[in-house]
Symmetry: D2
């Protein structure tokens, strides 16, 4: 059994980790921390856990947390994570960090979009936790930077096309739509029921911090720098991200080529369901799962491809993907504890 | 492994059974039937099942279904079920029927509220599948009549008080609120998104067919006939039932007595979470689970108790309870495959 | 034109007043106040008002507000209102107070359920602003205590029966369900989208402060003290209250008697739509309107009547009713500016 | 008073017309028709109208309808409209057609995307009812083809930029999101509450029939043929469309230029609220109104502009715009009966 701690367990990604780990056959959940709820049973923070999880939130102490656990999930805000992770590693635990702090290979990109990085030396060691691209590196990693929710959905939608070199790299536009849980459990007018319900909006247009993360990975696949347009939107629902990604096709690319490119790229990926040309995903069908569903349509009139991907932002976009990374880091099958969890309606 | 068939798999209770059984460690799902979708993969009927369940819907044939399976879940409309169950039993399978057809011990009650019963002799054999009350009988049953969603929530809320004889029996009023999935997957203006969304209503006031089911079980516990008021309402959400049940307290009944009565009644019930006096449930906290959460408040000003219970109508109110009954019928622990499945948000 | 001020305009009842008054043919909206948003255009507080209302929020100053306006709507929290109203009156304005501070005739009831009352002498003068009962007094009032949202729905459902003396007075149970806007625009986990969405719960069972307000009015109609049970619930939708009210019928009361009693009581009430026996309301059909829809069903099996009423909590339950009271206080037809505003879907 | 008929009043655009016309100071609603509900009071079809509208649905008879009314709103499905409109015109009424049948100037485009057109000669006469572009022509029109919901939002977002010639015409991509009422009141699994709620999806990617309508109008403004990418999505809410429209900016176009272009284009448009650079709309703020809110953001990193527009699909996207067109056709101010109707939350 892998001994697991969740450092910062009182947010939605914390809850989602607990939900998934309670069912995981190879995990023992040993410690949950929360500065705000220290001393409080987690089942008071999340009443769904009554009778199911008897752990009590502990105060933050990286040294102790790291000693008790083989693996620590750091579910902290960025910047807080950057400061906690070195101690966790020093005490001997492996770490999967769900913040943005260890997702960037280039310190400069991080500091431009976020802030000064206090432990840039760890950026070289950290592995970007997208199994479909970095499976082998993740298996050997001591520190994984778990991908952002939007980047997961956009990178998986575009990676095969970019790697195959069949789209115009400067034409990529990602139009993404997220459920409200992506905004976290903190209080603001933005997440007040009456301000969200029955409304739809875009936000942080052309300035969302997930943009450079998408660009880092797509550039690596392309072998040259790519810049993309990214627009996030808020959907009046709790969970799910749908990304609609546009790119101009290179001359002469056929439907069959596109299909082959997707099928081949995801041949060994148990969590990507390639739906095919004209078959379109719905976030409802991936709710609570680690799946990313991908469909597309080629618009011959304008020689453009529209790829649509759907994930659950809390599962595949955060905690489910983190559990998948844990599986890889501990020599388990990637799907352990994750695959047969579906939900509809 | 128990070989299991779902007869009538294309509705929401069918889906919920598939969802739960796919994760069940002791079950092999061998057959799904659907008249409407015969020949169609279930993953086309419910796209969430893509890559997770490869079964193809088979046409109805009770003899064959019953031969292939050790247990058949009949997820048919009432009346259809009544006609199918005898053949299923004859072919050697045990049957858990999710319709109303085998819930009543008294043929007359059934015929008054539903229609003529074609196999009344089976009513004597059938066991009402509420484990908290009939656990031992269910273990030995060949045929279980799985309780209705509303009755599950109301009976569990009132059973301890009625059995203890501490409330006025003629004063019971059950005011229940259900999510829309309770109305099934069929098409009607009643379930059209724009007619449900942002609206709240009562329906079938004083004439809902779940009333006599509640009365049957509460009368049995009381040892004399009880009639209750029951009002169902429709909540603009997919899953969940909350029942607010009122009764006048007998003179001199204290808060402590009430607490003791609930704790004792549910001492050995892994799926009832007794929250206590002044602690109130929320359907959100039981979503996707087999739990029934129960809290209450005594209103001393009017000497009345208000008991509030919450269940997921598709899980505890139908398919989860059916799986629990299967566990009992096959000598497994009641909670096998069910307990650690939580969901919030 | 009536010159109108809204004192405390930045909450949901403030917005609703603005929405209704902008369309009112006999009103000039002269002043909006908000301590929090002083100096900010109201169209920044509520972006729906861009291009429609150019007023800028002013800081609190009861003397000035009262001088500028013929009528002030006080849309403040209780206690704050109590302190502001005397100055408003002194400066010559009439006042409709939307808080609880001037709804009670008995200072003791107020102090038991709320807190010490600083201006109890005004309680004698204030008129309870339910037009169906106090129309004539409202016409002459200088100060109106505008009814609470839940009391409006419950009193209107029960008033005819209680006044006619055809129900058992000690048997009344009001089970009410409200949309989330009733909780106001303030921030709390209770109104966080992900904590409300897809969940249903009861709250403040047997201790909600609207209880004594219902009891005051029903007792007055009955001519003797009545105590009732009241249970509020939260519905995952923005607007609307549905109240399901139970009472034992006196012996021999027929369906026709009940119908006559309702029709007669509401004969001259333009904003009550008496639906009749077996016809049930839906909050969707009263959204954005000042209507109260009332239907009922007699349950002969238990000799009990179930009355169901539906209102929009922000319109009929607060601001629409306040505008109706204003109409009466200024000699206008009760329906001016209100009647033909419907909304569905 | 203008005598108005609604031909096909039982759908959501029919209801929305009734809602708006009941409040219109210059309109008398004389006739509602519905084949399905002939002989039934409209207040039974839409219970919100109880006590507010006493009209009874009449069966279809174009001759009679046209004779009774000065203006007929045809709210029929396409093809049905094409067959009804000539008779309506012949009987002397003016017609505003809410279907797609009279929106195209080129018969060939219509037949390619819809079907054979039975009265192509009327296509020359019909005016496309977008007041911001065709105000003068609408004033003189006998027949107006009322724009589609998606085209209204996309054309208004792009018209100023295309007309000013400051974007690359072949680069336009419109990513639109609509509430469920856009799918109409008919029954299908697509609009079943449990299939829509908590899910988000794209549909008819690269093949939606509103595409050529957008292209017709943007091409006319550009003075040369434009083809665009258009992707519609379904949002789990009742009303509202948000369109996010992308285009590459021509070299050297500044933020100020863009602002000037928008301000100038909509200088005299009472129903377009130009929010400006970096200020983004929300469908919540235009709900129930005829406004189109437009904001944008220039993404200098990729030299692309992202324009976001929000409308209410039933009001500005259908019936509100139709009423606005009626106002113009009868010499009224464009805003009569429409402007001060706001709604939030």
């Amino acid at each position: 059994m892998i001994k697991v701690a969740i450092h910062g367990a009182s947010g939605y990604t914390g809850f989602e980790l607990i939900r998934l780990l309670l069912k995981h056959p190879e995990v023992e959940l040993v410690t949950l921390t929360s500065r705000k709820f220290a001393g409080i049973p987690i089942s008071e923070v999340f009443p769904a856990l009554r009778g199911v999880c008897s752990l009590v939130c502990e105060d933050f102490s990286e040294n102790e947390v790291g000693k008790k656990a083989d693996l620590v999930f750091a579910a902290l805000p960025h910047q807080a994570s950057m400061n906690a992770v070195p101690s966790l590693l020093d005490s001997g635990a492996k770490v999967i960090d769900l913040s943005a702090d260890f997702r960037f290979r280039d310190e400069k990109t991080y500091s431009e979009w976020y802030q000064h990085h206090s432990t840039p030396e760890l950026l070289n060691e950290a592995v970007y936790g997208l199994p479909e691209i970095y499976r082998d590196k993740i298996k050997k990693a001591r520190l994984v930077g778990n991908p952002g929710c939007y980047p997961t959905s956009v990178i998986l939608a575009m990676a095969p096309l970019v790697k195959a070199g069949i789209v115009e790299l400067e034409s990529i536009i990602a139009d993404s739509k997220s459920g409200v849980s992506g905004a976290g459990r903190g209080l603001s007018l933005t997440t007040h029921f009456c301000e969200v319900n029955e409304g739809f909006k875009a936000y942080k247009v052309a300035e969302h911090r997930h943009t450079p993360e998408m660009e880092q990975e797509l550039s690596a696949l392309a072998g040259k720098p790519i810049k993309i347009s990214f627009t996030p939107h808020l959907v009046p629902m709790t969970r799910g991200i749908l990304s609609t990604v546009y790119a101009n096709l290179n001359p002469g690319v056929s439907v069959d080529t596109v299909t082959d490119v997707f099928k081949e790229f995801y041949e060994d990926a148990p969590f990507v369901r390639v739906l095919g040309d004209g078959v379109l995903p719905n976030t409802l069908y991936v709710r609570g799962t680690n799946f990313c569903d991908i469909g597309w349509k080629i618009d011959n009139r304008v020689n453009r491809i529209v790829v649509v991907s759907a994930i659950d932002n809390l599962t595949r976009g955060a905690s489910g993907q983190a559990v998948c990374n844990m599986n890889l880091m501990f020599g388990l099958d990637e799907t352990t504890g994750l695959l047969r969890t579906v939900w509809q309606p």
